[in-house]
Symmetry: C2
Subunit: 338 residues, 2 copies
């Protein structure tokens, strides 16, 4: 491995050209008056000798880090990881164009020492939260620090800038789609209640029931499903209640439910409908194909990042940005036949 060679500095460039480093700095940044000729001369030389400014030093002088922090949940399987990964790609793409990088922080719900350390160390100029919680220590921490941040997902905390897909409407429309075609009820299978996303979707479900003139079927709302065993149990339970369909808040839950239904010899969509959130590879090419909501995670990431940069630049931005979704109807709800 080559010995790490010390980089050429702005001083050396200045000296070589017989100008001050102020001038070099100005040529690079484009800020401040500078003659077109000198500017070009500097730029040419820099190009030629492959000078790259030291970003850390620039950061120190400008009180910037050129990094943002992205906080990602530590779940291993309860929500689809690829959603977060895609969002990350979107964020990285946008941030990269601004010459920013991503400091990753993977953390559990209760614990945010990682984020805390990054904040006290001032290693980032802003933060994106990829998930929100009912009681959200991340948000409390960030508001306490007064650092710009954007949350993906709903929140009850005041003054939080956020971006999300229209999860509530999505869940409402999906539910209505099923309710409108049969008088029997539809069950809702979901994840942890401590997640805002769970609540948001639940609200959409309730909206739909009401709008269809039905009571919200409390006994068919099954949350906090964290394991396959739990899902198996619930599916059995729900089937006994003569339910027409089930909506799963998560592809993993849906996948488990599907397997259980198969095991119970229930025909889909004949005996029961099933639909899922997030159209991920988990259910890709499933047989029967599964009706699902489709969200563009990458676009979401980009949008969150765009908003964060506005905040960091002190630009005006709307507090809330809601992104569209698509409802993809397939066989599992009897909407398409082969």
């Amino acid at each position: 491995m080559e010995k790490e060679t010390r980089r050429i500095t702005i001083d050396q460039v200045a000296e070589a050209l017989g100008v001050s480093k102020t001038t070099v700095s100005r040529a690079i940044s484009g800020k401040g008056r500078i003659g077109a000729a000198t500017r070009q001369r500097v730029l040419d030389y820099i190009e030629k000798c492959d000078y790259k400014p030291n970003i850390i030093a620039r950061g120190l002088a400008q009180s910037k880090t050129f990094n943002i922090c992205v906080v990602m949940p530590e779940d291993y399987h309860l929500s689809d990881l690829s959603f977060f990964q895609r969002a990350l790609v979107g964020i990285q793409q946008f941030a990269g164009e601004m010459d920013y990088d991503i400091l990753l922080c993977i953390g559990k719900e209760e614990e945010c020492t990682g984020l805390a350390r990054i904040l006290t160390n001032r290693k980032v100029d802003g933060v994106i939260l990829l998930r929100t919680y009912r009681k959200d220590r991340q948000i409390e921490l960030l508001q306490g620090e007064g650092i710009p941040f954007v949350a993906v997902g709903d929140t009850d905390y005041k003054g939080v800038y956020q971006v999300d897909h229209d999860q509530r409407t999505a869940c409402r429309e999906l539910t209505k789609h099923l309710l409108s075609r049969d008088s029997a009820d539809v069950a809702l299978l979901g994840g942890r209640e401590s997640l805002m996303i769970t609540r948001t979707r639940l609200e959409g479900f309730c909206d739909a029931c009401r709008e269809c003139g039905r009571e919200v079927p409390e006994e068919l709302i099954c949350l906090n499903l964290e394991s396959r065993q739990a899902v198996d149990l619930i599916v059995e339970n729900v089937l006994n209640k003569k339910v027409r369909g089930m909506i799963c808040m998560d592809d993993v839950i849906c996948n488990w439910a599907l397997q259980k239904l198969r095991q119970e010899r229930r025909k889909i969509p004949r005996d029961v409908w099933i639909a899922s959130f997030y159209n991920s590879w988990v259910l890709e090419n499933s047989d029967p194909s599964v009706t699902a909501l489709s969200f563009d995670a990458r676009e979401l990431g980009k949008e969150a990042c765009r908003k964060l940069f506005c905040l960091m630049d002190q630009d005006e931005v709307p507090q809330r940005t809601i992104l569209p979704y698509r409802m993809v109807l397939r066989e599992s709800t009897g909407d398409i036949f082969r």
Copy 2:
């Protein structure tokens, strides 16, 4: 949101205590001679007024960034994402203890502009590659820069420090386990050939065949399986060749294969054995339960990070570290019955 308040600096601490900032710096770092009493006095004051040194400034002075870069593949489904996430958690854990953070770089095989930018910007002190390729532009780039880095996975490039599970032996033993019990052959279903991991496992497979005194069944080695359609085709194809079992290099592939087998009404393990790599939630509680190799991704991440820190500290380290695996025998290979 509160106005971002300027932090207290080392100068202010020094002034308040009537000492030089040299002394304050020494008290904090523990380097250089300093009286125990003054040291304590400084530390107490710092504690009291909650002074936190500016890490960026420290970095500039020491030519360090206190960040490492982790390069993660951009695949959406072809390998199990949770493996990488767990590895990331392990890395974060170790790095965190050293007061380092992770700069994430998600990138495709062919493309490493992200990494390139991070390197030219000198934003990290070292790099961890979470996956290696036959022709690996990341490695070429890193060796060119002469920055310390550790690769997870095998490589043909010289002088690369690497860490990995014993994938070759694992695949060999798994294959031998099947071959030793039946004279019929076993097929190998795998992912992209451009990945080193694919080759490493393939080598293990071939080792096993030879050690069992058999010819390597070229027509049963099916690589570059990237879609469900491809897997379906291959499974059909392989079944026609009177194969006794199949080994899948990936839980996703295995999952698809399982579904295809089910569709074809093949009984597992009666008609065919199936085994998988990496014991992830994708196959969790699958029915029948699936024999798989089990790797501790988190430990792998930690180990890679530990090695990277040794390199950054210029400590001696072995070039190659091989971590153990576990073979978990279950129903799908007829090793356990309910």
